[in-house]
Symmetry: C2
Subunit: 317 residues, 2 copies
């Protein structure tokens, strides 16, 4: 596994002029499905602080029909590309680094995740809302203006299914939430903890896929991201921002993804599951062992990465 050849983040592909996410270019995106706006400003015009619009190049479509069809017996399974694909434009300014967002702007991103989730849950054919962010070309970003993506799916995706069933099995044996156990053990040990705030913990992944992978989770139990209060959003944003500033410093602004793992839409509070955000920096290039066998090699231990990030943390704002 080599670190060479990983592209610097500023080389984002396909940067267009003018930026379709900047104010004044609202005609270049479909009609907004959510916006935080200055009172009196008109939908699909300037005056917004954050804007969610359908993706102009959607991976899934709301008009694609929603039923599974088994094809050719039990071997092949296919379904129409039903779902919703949206873009969450995080600020009107043409900022490319999420760490350049103001505290209020950063918090608004996490509020908007929650608000969209509530609305998407109203469609009974949608099972899950994937909320994620690609930063840098190496991590799949195609436009520089800082944004998140929302992909609402008619099924619970594979990775979430695996977490739900794994944590359920742990709960059946122990009557405990594995993420609660993880948080309390990591906090007691401290070795992999990067930072914490009153209600949230940022901790290196115990078995990272990429070096410097870290997770952010609420310290108290809750499976549903929808329970996030506005105050929580501010606290979460502040913690996230501090760790990302440290990551940018330690790894020279690597490309990364973050993704929210939470319970399925309309789920009741689950005793065994616990929402969290995983941040996956592109610190290597997965090859045959990773893609072929699901085994990941990293060259920096999570304990070492935690030490480096702790030393690079900016002060609490």
């Amino acid at each position: 596994m080599t670190l060479e050849g990983v592209e610097p983040r500023h080389r984002t592909n396909g940067e267009r002029q003018p930026c379709p996410f900047c104010p004044g270019q609202e005609h270049d995106t479909p009609h907004e499905s959510l916006a935080y706006r200055t009172p009196g400003s008109r939908p699909d015009g300037p005056g917004w602080q954050l804007r969610v619009v359908p993706n102009k190049f959607p991976a899934l479509r709301p008009d694609a029909g929603g039923t599974f069809c088994a094809v050719e017996g039990m071997v092949f399974l296919t379904t129409p590309g039903f779902g919703r694909a949206e873009v969450l434009i995080e600020c009107p300014e043409h900022l490319t680094a999420p760490t350049a967002l103001s505290p209020n702007q950063f918090a608004a991103v996490f509020r908007a995740y929650r608000d969209r989730m509530y609305t998407l849950a109203e469609d009974p054919y949608l099972a899950y809302a994937a909320l994620f962010k690609n930063v840098g070309a190496e991590a799949g970003a195609s436009l520089g203006h800082t944004h998140s993506q929302i992909i609402a799916l008619p099924v619970v995706p594979e990775s979430i299914e695996a977490e739900l069933s794994g944590s359920d099995a742990f709960f059946a044996r122990t009557a405990r939430c594995v993420f609660c156990d993880l948080a309390s053990r990591e906090l007691a040990d401290g070795e992999r903890v990067v930072a914490r705030s009153e209600h949230f913990l940022a901790v290196m992944a115990y078995a990272p896929r990429y070096a410097y992978e870290f997770w952010v989770l609420p310290i108290s139990h809750t499976s549903r991201y929808e329970t996030l209060t506005d105050a929580d959003a501010h606290e979460l944003a502040a913690l996230m921002r501090r760790v990302l500033v440290a990551l940018d410093k330690v790894r020279s602004e690597p490309a990364y993804n973050w993704f929210l793992h939470t319970a399925p839409l309309r789920s009741a509070e689950l005793p065994h599951y616990h929402w969290h955000i995983e941040v996956l920096p592109r610190t290597a290039r997965p090859a045959g062992l990773e893609w072929g066998y699901g085994c990941f090699i990293t060259t920096v231990s999570p304990e070492q990465a935690a030490t480096e990030l702790r030393l690079a943390l900016p002060p609490v704002a």
Copy 2:
């Protein structure tokens, strides 16, 4: 998902002069564990046609100890880095494209996979031999001289475990091997078939992770790659080479990985499992949806990709 920014394959990272895999540089690699040699030539000297050596920068070590230790209760599990990491140097000439190998050289690669598997199976602490190939920097190759990697693990890796249990469940319901069903249905339908020979089939993955992902498998049932005869190796190599030539032509020499999925070491013949090779070209950059949720978006359908590859196939040699 964008295709822009995917690097051309010739930009392999870390190319060194002189190449440590070329004849005359045998002192630059650890002692060979297998070589196909001209009779009378000496180990670790020139005169070889194919050579397997321990990786100079091993991910796992045979002297690392082999027992699992549960750490801190049930939450964290760790084990020493026990195993073997080897490099299979496929030819003495400094060729970078596997398609440049002669038919005999290409066949020798598949014979050597089998031969090493037999030897590695003698170590009772090794559970699985991962055999894979990285072509191009984008796919994780760090040296240009065409080679495969062998990583022998003390556990059966996650992806193989999933295939074994999934195919076992299918067998329990149907008394059939799901891969045999797949092969016969694909052959009958033809739409995703790229090429076949007497005993082997090359077919596009029904649900590809990357566009142009294809699989090569024996048409008749066998779970154990070790059953491959020398004649099979020649036939497999010829089929594989034809499809790779077509892929290089259609996608302008993309980076790719291939990996062998076979039964664990020392496994009996399994009625539900079926060895196969998966070829994964880097035709896109996985982002948050792929890494975070296990959902893959491709922009070329397997049926379209099959058509393109069929049209680009070289004649049977």
